[in-house]
């Protein structure tokens, strides 16, 4: 059903908080996993059981330090477990779908709550922005107002995260409850689509939206946004692929400090211990010497390129383009663009769209007899 969450006095965030609170008080869920604001304005996800504390919830804060999909796994994977509402941005939901396929999360007792994403800043940028406004929580009225037209723009002098700039799927999809911000005047009300029984419990009635032009507005705004972002994305891909052709992967990652941040934050890299943190890659001293002798010189730490190639091999098919890898890189390498560009081509080869559907099998474990018949034997 589609309904409208009423907004009073133009307080959109307040309405979202009330809505989340009601999910707990009306016993739709036992707890809510949602980004929370600390008193000095930092934002991080938390599992909230006390509805009173949702006063500090802020899923609209334009900042993303962490893709929350893996932590959804923490609260859903094993039984006994509670019924939990998880508030996710679209890239987080896509990652969650991939994690379900990798058995790192279970949707059975979850109520997924998607929010159209208006763009996010990297944590340091967000903090700088807050400081420039005198600290505390950031007032995001301007950003919320832009949802109606879809002309999303960062604060002047600041930039959205690299991943967000090229994100062609900012709209929430495939969630149980969807807060449909695009195309709506959020000072008046927040269109929401949700299961009928939940709507009844929350006392929401079907809005005359389905036939109405409001829904049509969201569709149009999303279409326009997708088109614009796809252009940015493709330009970025072209740039990266040209660099790859010209300077190769090794050069792009030449200044990688092999901190493994990109792997640690990547929602898809769900190994308990990454292969590259095991003794497999601890070599004997003479090994390094023999490499140095063979090639004249041996880059240290060794295996940096192998790390990136292997990670591409392990997860690029499932890369959902959240860009938290780029955000986390201390030396500002375009990790996410590289992984997305290569991942996109790979995904195309297998007609695979990560994050689309939990029933879509992972290409890695799907055997098609005629696959790639142009290489090798018939």
């Amino acid at each position: 059903m589609r309904a409208v969450i009423p907004v009073s006095n133009g307080d959109t965030l307040g309405a979202v908080r009330d809505f989340l609170r009601a999910l707990i008080t009306e016993e739709v869920v036992d707890a809510v996993l949602v980004p929370m604001e600390t008193t000095d304005g930092a934002v991080a996800p938390a599992l909230v059981a006390d509805p009173e504390l949702l006063e500090a919830a802020n899923p609209l804060a334009p900042v993303l330090g962490l893709n929350a999909a893996p932590v959804v796994g923490h609260v859903s994977l094993r039984t006994p477990r509670a019924r939990i509402g998880v508030v996710l941005r679209s890239c987080e939901m896509r990652a969650l779908v991939e994690l379900v396929k990798l058995r790192q999360a279970d949707l059975a007792d979850l109520v997924t709550i998607g929010v159209d994403c208006l763009g996010t800043y990297d944590v340091p940028v967000y903090n700088a922005l807050r400081d420039s406004k005198g600290g505390g929580a950031l007032d995001s009225d301007a950003l919320l107002a832009s949802a109606e037209t879809g002309d999303l723009a960062p604060q002047e002098g600041y930039a959205f995260r690299d991943g967000c700039q090229m994100c062609e799927k900012p709209h929430a999809e495939g969630t149980d409850i969807t807060l449909e911000l695009f195309g709506a005047d959020l000072r008046v009300g927040i269109p929401v689509s949700l299961p009928d029984d939940v709507a009844v419990r929350l006392g929401l009635v079907a809005a005359a939206l389905d036939s109405g032009e409001e829904h049509g507005r969201r569709v149009k705004v999303v279409e326009r946004l997708v088109r614009a972002r796809t252009q940015v994305r493709d330009a970025r891909f072209a740039e990266i692929l040209a660099r790859l052709a010209d300077r190769r992967l090794g050069r792009i990652f030449a200044s990688c400090v092999r901190c493994h941040n990109c792997m640690t934050v990547c929602p898809i890299c769900c190994c308990r211990t990454c292969l590259f943190r095991t003794p497999t890659f601890e070599h004997e001293p003479m090994q390094y010497v023999s490499w140095a002798e063979r090639k004249g010189a041996c880059r240290l730490p060794a295996d940096t390129l192998l790390f990136h190639l292997t990670r591409l091999n392990h997860m690029a098919l499932s890369c959902v383009g959240c860009g938290v890898c780029t955000s986390s890189c201390p030396v500002q390498l375009p990790v996410g663009s590289v992984f997305r560009a290569i991942g996109h081509r790979l995904q195309g080869t297998f007609d695979y769209v990560p994050g689309r559907d939990t029933e879509e099998p992972l290409p890695m474990v799907t055997f098609r007899e005629n696959e790639w018949s142009e290489i090798g034997e018939e």
Partner: protein, 573 residues
Amino acid sequence: MSLSRVGVYVCHCGTNIAANVDVARLAEFARSLPGAVLARDYPYMCSDRGQALIREDVSEQALDRVVVAACSPRMHEPTFRDAVRQAGLNPYMVEMANIREQCAWVHDDRARATEKATRLVASAVARAVLLEPLEERQVDVEPGVVVIGGGIAGLAATLTVAEAGYSAYLVERSGSLGGRVRELDRTYPTLDKVQVVLRELVSRVAAHPNVTILLRSSVTSVDGCVGDFTVEVKTRGANLGEGVDASRDSQTLVVGSVIVATGFDPFDPRRKPELGYGQYPSVITTLELEQRLAAGDLGDNGAAPRRVAFLQCVGSRDVQVGNPYCSRVCCMVVAKQARQLRGLMPDAEITVYYSDVRTFGKGAEEFYDETRAQGVLYRRASVSEIVRSQNRVRLVGEDTLLSRAIGVEVDLVVLATGMEAGADSASLSAMLRLQRSPDGFFLEAHPKLRPVDTATAGVYLAGCCQGPKGIADTIAHAKAAASSALIPLLRGSVQADAATAIVNPALCANCGLCVEECPYGAPALDPFRGVATVNALLCQGCGACAVVCPAKAISLQHATACQVLAQVDALMA
């Protein structure tokens, strides 16, 4: 690293290797490799003396690892594993460098081949240093055999197993035994009444106390491995077999070996519509003529045909229909049938249109000569079309010896249709993990040395399911399959390869990729511990799981990530 003591043995293989690789230099190079304590070259490492050399060095020089640079490990790895086992070393402490098939045989520049051989040996030594001893497992063998398919092949195999004193379960899809042979009249080259032979075989099989016959039955799943297969059989309707509870429609058989004897399908000549089969009643197949001959009724309503044409190679040696191979029996079947018709219709004109006549086999060429001597005409031709011509049909084509057009009107055309792989070969191959050759028939493990074995240990091939054969060859093949299938049963236990996959539970994320990837169903997720586990009895050591597991939590013993990386690294040195 240098704590290991590797002995390297370079084999000349007579001149097979020595002609293209400087074996003395190779041995000298091997001596310099880290971990190597000695290196020798020797004319034949696989000979008794060669093996003794290894055994002596292992004890006298206290070797703990052995590298043999010789042929493919598929050839002699078992030999050298045995040799070191006898010397008290764990058999998995052997590594082979293939400098024959992958080097000496495929290069002719001696200097560069020698250079490549050094890399291969360096790589083998690098890996050998990291080898770990593995514990070999013994699996008790279930004393029975399932035979799938009750044609002449299945019958012969079943009887051989039963006579050896083991239980044989014969699973036949149809309601009767005998397969295609049931439809035949007489056999070449003796012109014996084949039903007499078949009846005798069937009654011996049916009467044997060790045999259980399951008619109208098919195998629905096969699990396990050599020595311990679990075979599910489903039976349709009432079961006429003896010794079987007719009320049950499915049962589980636990056996040590499986013999596949599912035969062939005759080529359907409708796939060559230009020959008019199915369109003109006077165009029939050799199988149909066989049935008419057996029934003693040529189906001609008394009006004996005055002119008969046989067409050879229909659906065989024909790339257009996808069957480039020879079906092996058709030439003799035609010679046989033409001879029989000759006897029945002394006045008729009988012509065989052939492209080549292949009459190998005992008494076959003589039989063919006699057929011609009796007045059967052979004409080398290619027939392109059969068309109606009033109440007869007309063959249109070319005489390929005289390069002259042919247009003959005949009363009866017999198409010598070839053999094709059975229609359900694909599903059987998936169930039994059998490979198929490009022609669709099941693939034997080696075309010469292992003609009845398959890539799956404990599964054997009998008869035409492996490729076209006459009855005599089919029976020989079936008896060979039965003998091979009996080997594990006679031994009572089989040694299972210890190089199976294992899971490091501390690394396993329980993602289940390995479970989905394994073709043998060996890994499973343990719901309590939340990690993958491997059933070592099912694991065939193929390594697919280790490839797909990102963290390498599951790895193949004897091909660990460290071993493989060291090997690759040494190759690139």
